[in-house]
């Protein structure tokens, strides 16, 4: 076997994650066993990133056939698209696993720690199967395992009634989505020889238009549920906050991306664009998810819920790019379709990096202060300098500021919108340039939100004794976060490392596309911007340092002897103007109770509560749930519990089948 081929490292990866890591942990409860398991897991992921890098940069395709071991055709194949997502999984999994070593030791109950690692390892394995599968069965097996194992990881932490309810909603929505994904695979069957991807591709050429549309819509909604586009996002802000931080990092950073992978695989690879209008629903879904996601995020002060809503926002940005790409495909503009697809895929990768970094940061905060409520934090930058710096880099990245990786993908998305203006005489010519305004609004609101997050949590004075006595996270946690922050900066300043293979990938998915000049332009200009900003800032630092005396003086307290932390703006106060302007979106449920009620002007106590009810549950999901429960109640009449009746059912079924067969033939 040559070194070029990736079969050996890939089988190493699968064996390690699937069998070796769990075996070590089942064998021993000692801390050393967990360290060994973590080391093996990291080694496996490094091997995996080697395979992925080979596939991504050199397109050395890898094929592994497990059909002999399974009742179904089960093969794994790494093409460029798979390699990109495998690279994302492995590159993010390594720092997260490093971070998780001290995190699980501190925050997981003793008897559950080993299970945590076992599930973690299998969870990674299931996602790797999803993105490398090249048969429908392998894909669906990985897809289902991914859902179940992530639910297990959430439940390992504890099983209070509320947690179980949230996991129930998560599992319910995931299975509705999975049912649609299954259906969209099976709809190919009459037209293709099997469910391996090659046959599906061949079969999609002869699909009738109606089936084609149906498959596209099912894949859109099915994968959209996993991706968390609004209004299918309901599970996301419930499931992410209750998972342990490294698990949230994996769920938000990688698991959501498998949905993007699935959608790209279907829409671009299998269906080659879908129906001619296919881009518009995607574009609308992206715009709605982006705007509402960021607005809901601003209203939150629980850091992990806030980050979960930002995942909705960023999935929205990714879908904006995908929708634009589909519109260009339908307008026969392959070059710009490739540009928009590159933008979407790069944002997928970038989001995986900075969102997992943000969740790790929230883990480091809760490790130090035992809370992720922004109102209890403050002043952490001085107490946790490395966590603070890496978190700041992640904030700049997610906001899309130049020199950080989020900017590159948002810039490419902007430019693909602008390119739409050249589609003479189409709807897209008007719609796409206007989307610049939507994305600008999303970006501006995201900036507002992360000024709030970083400013309230890390800057100013501590708002609680826990925050005041916070100490920096252990070395392993810092190491994991630093790695991810460095990756964000690298892509932010030298995006060419990823853009070149990404363009090649897009050219594979969009036949006839050249190299979009924008991808070259941004690669050339960003180093100059970096040199300019850093150079000028450095010069200014020198100029300001000449003969300067720096003195630490208390801020002017308007006559009060000292300023206290209570005088700072809180997270709620900071976001108030935006919530006020967009109050139509939030519709808070405010209750003011004055006691005693008969003396309105001399109250003894006034209590105020403001709850943001999500109207999705009330007006969108509740009717469905009621209908379902009502139907189930009717069906219960069939279940009498009497064995004779069941025998009658079997008999009747048999008779009707026989009649059916008789008249069919």
């Amino acid at each position: 076997m040559q070194l070029e081929s990736g079969e050996l490292p890939l089988s190493f990866l699968l064996l390690m994650l699937g069998a070796a890591v769990p075996m070590v942990l089942v064998g021993s409860r000692a801390k050393g066993a967990r360290l060994l398991a973590a080391g093996m897991l990291i080694a496996a992921c490094l091997a995996g990133s080697f395979v992925a890098a080979l596939g991504f940069w050199r397109t050395s395709s890898v094929l592994m056939d497990f059909t002999g071991f399974t009742p179904f055709p089960f093969t794994l194949e790494i093409d460029r698209l798979s390699a990109l997502f495998l690279l994302l999984i492995c590159v993010v999994a390594v720092p997260v696993a490093v971070f998780a070593v001290p995190y699980f030791e501190h925050h997981c109950p003793e008897r559950r720690r080993n299970w945590m690692w076992i599930f973690f390892s299998w969870f990674l394995l299931s996602m790797i199967v999803v993105v490398t599968a090249s048969t429908g069965f392998a894909f669906l097996a990985g897809w289902e395992l991914m859902t179940l194992l992530s639910a297990g990881l959430i439940l390992i932490e504890g099983d209070s009634a509320e947690r179980r309810h949230n996991v129930f909603i998560y599992l319910l929505m995931m299975h509705v989505g999975a049912a649609m994904v299954v259906a969209s695979f099976f709809l190919f069957l009459p037209y293709s020889h099997g469910l391996d991807f090659a046959s599906i591709r061949a079969g999609s050429a002869v699909l009738p238009p109606a089936i084609r549309t149906l498959i596209f819509l099912l894949a859109f909604v099915g994968f959209g549920t996993k991706a968390g586009i609004i209004p299918l996002h309901l599970w996301l802000p419930r499931a992410h906050p209750i998972a342990p931080s490294p698990v949230s990092a994996i769920m938000s950073g990688i698991m959501l991306k498998t949905a993007v992978y699935g959608f790209v695989r279907f829409a671009f690879d299998f269906l080659a664009g879908g129906p001619s209008w296919s881009g518009y629903p995607i574009l609308v879904a992206g715009a709605v998810s982006g705007l509402l996601g960021v607005l809901y995020a601003i209203g939150e002060h629980d850091l992990k819920r806030l980050l979960a809503y930002h995942s909705v926002e960023n999935i929205g940005i990714i879908y904006l790019g995908l929708g634009t790409s589909l519109i260009f495909l339908a307008c026969h503009a392959p070059l710009w379709a490739a540009l928009a697809l590159v933008a979407a895929l790069l944002h997928t990768f970038n989001h995986g990096l900075f969102k997992s970094l943000l969740f790790l940061g929230s883990g480091a905060i809760s490790h130090a202060t035992h809370t992720v409520d922004l109102e209890e934090l403050g002043g952490l930058q001085r107490r946790m300098p490395v966590t603070g710096l890496t978190f700041l880099i992640a904030c700049c990245s997610i906001v899309g500021l130049p020199l950080f990786n989020g900017f590159v993908s948002e810039w490419l998305t902007f430019r693909s919108f602008l390119a739409g203006a050249a589609l003479m005489g189409t709807k897209a010519q008007v719609v796409l340039p206007l989307m610049v305004g939507v994305l600008a609004l999303i970006g501006g609101l995201a900036a507002a939100c992360f000024i709030k997050v970083f400013g309230v949590a890390f800057l100013g004075r501590p708002r609680s004794t826990e925050a005041e006595h916070a100490i920096e996270a252990p070395l392993a946690m810092r190491g994991g976060m630093t790695f991810l922050a460095a990756a964000c900066l690298l892509i932010g300043i030298l995006p060419g490392v990823l853009l070149k293979p990404l363009v090649a990938l897009a050219q594979g998915l969009v036949p006839g596309a050249g190299v979009p000049p924008e991808t070259l332009a941004i690669t050339r200009v960003l180093p100059w911007i970096a040199v300019a900003v850093i150079g000028i800032a450095g010069a200014a630092a020198l100029a300001a340092a000449l003969g300067r005396v720096r003195r630490i003086v208390p801020a002017w307290g308007c006559g009060l002897p000292t300023l206290t932390s209570r005088m700072q703006y809180t997270s709620t106060a900071f976001s108030k103007p935006i919530r006020f302007v967009f109050s139509a979106v939030y519709r808070p449920d405010r209750k003011i109770v004055r006691l005693p009620a008969d003396q309105p002007y001399f109250p003894v106590s006034i209590s105020y509560s403001s709850v943001r009810t999500t109207s999705y549950e009330k007006s969108l999901y509740r009717p469905f749930a009621n209908l379902f429960v009502a139907a189930a109640n009717q069906l219960r009449r069939l279940q009498t519990g009497n064995i004779q009746v069941y025998l009658l059912y079997i008999f009747l079924t048999l008779i009707s089948l026989l009649i059916f067969l008789r008249f069919r033939g």
Binding site: G437, L459, I534, R548, Q568, F574, P577
Partner: protein, 313 residues
């Protein structure tokens, strides 16, 4: 030669920025029948501040100290995108207007963080209000530029300016009027001028930008003030370059360049006079009326984009 010229333009935008502040202040004073301070006063202020102590609140981290540097770096880099006396600039053909706008956003992001780091109420208040206004103002700013870019079929600023230079003033479409109005309103919001923010106020109920820089002093304050002057100057110069570039030197030689420089001074002087008139005649909007103001700008810029695509058809 062109490189030297581009460096000269860039330095002009940076070094003359405090002068722009001084001239606007002087013009406002005249309109209010005061004599006003000398137009060179901002230079004296900056020189004075550079010699003074830098006072840092005890709660502040390095973010507070780095903020003026990043802000200045971002604004000065953004200035390298704007042509002044001829149709190119240091970075104008390498980058596009998205980069220009996002460099401004980079500076603003850090300024807001620096404000939050002071640990007193005013910083948070200023940052919170700035967050509202700037997050809304970004859309009309970008859409207005998109409209011009669509007409010019170029996204880099040099290309946009070059296209406008080739057009006859009277043949320019109504898109330009809409785009100019919406961009002008967005610039007012972005640079914190009346009626969005009062740059001369120190009343805690109304201040936005001043609230954010309240804890800064000495060289840090000098850099912050200088950076906001660069921002204003660069945006005025950008408006001129995009909407009235006529008079710019068609090629690099001494006489046309001198004329172009003079013409530029006249044009930027007219814009500053307009700004002074607006600031002296308009009351500051109540804060929750500002979204409506920006909404009008957004609607106009969206119309500009729609019309631009129709014109192109």
């Amino acid at each position: 030669m062109r490189l030297a010229l581009n460096v000269f333009q860039w330095l002009l935008l940076i070094l003359a920025a405090p002068l722009a502040h001084g001239i606007i202040a002087q013009a406002k004073a005249r309109l209010q029948r005061r004599r006003g301070a000398s137009i060179w006063r901002p230079y004296a202020d900056i020189a004075k501040l550079f010699r003074k102590e830098d006072l840092v609140p005890p709660s502040a981290s390095w973010v507070f100290r780095v903020t003026p540097l990043v802000l200045f770096g971002a604004m000065a880099s953004a200035a390298a995108f704007v042509p002044v006396v001829q149709g190119s600039a240091l970075l104008a053909s390498r980058g596009d207007f998205f980069l220009f706008v996002y460099l401004l956003a980079l500076g603003r992001f850090f300024l807001s963080l620096g404000a939050m780091d002071g640990g007193c109420a005013f910083g948070g208040m200023g940052a919170s209000r700035e967050a509202l206004i700037s997050s809304l103002a970004e859309a009309p700013l970008l859409l207005g530029l998109v409209a011009v870019a669509i007409l010019a079929s170029h996204a880099d600023i040099a290309g946009m300016v070059g296209w406008t230079l080739q057009q006859n003033f009277f043949k320019i479409s109504a898109v330009h009027i809409l785009a100019f109005l919406s961009l002008g309103m967005a610039v007012l919001a972005e640079t914190g001028r009346m009626p969005v923010d009062n740059p001369t106020t120190h009343l805690e109920l109304t201040m936005i930008h001043e609230g954010m820089v309240l804890e800064y002093s000495g060289p840090s304050l000098a850099l912050v003030e200088w950076a906001s002057a660069i921002k204003l100057h660069a945006m005025l110069a950008l408006l001129i370059a995009l909407f009235a570039p006529w008079g710019m030197a068609p090629h690099v030689s001494a006489a046309p360049l001198l004329v172009a420089l003079l013409v530029y001074f006249v044009k930027v002087g007219a814009l500053m006079a307009l700004l002074a008139v607006i600031e002296s005649s308009v009351a500051k909007l109540r804060m929750y009326l500002v979204p409506g103001f920006i909404g009008v700008a957004s609607a106009m810029s969206a119309l500009a984009v729609i019309f631009a695509t129709l014109v192109k058809r």
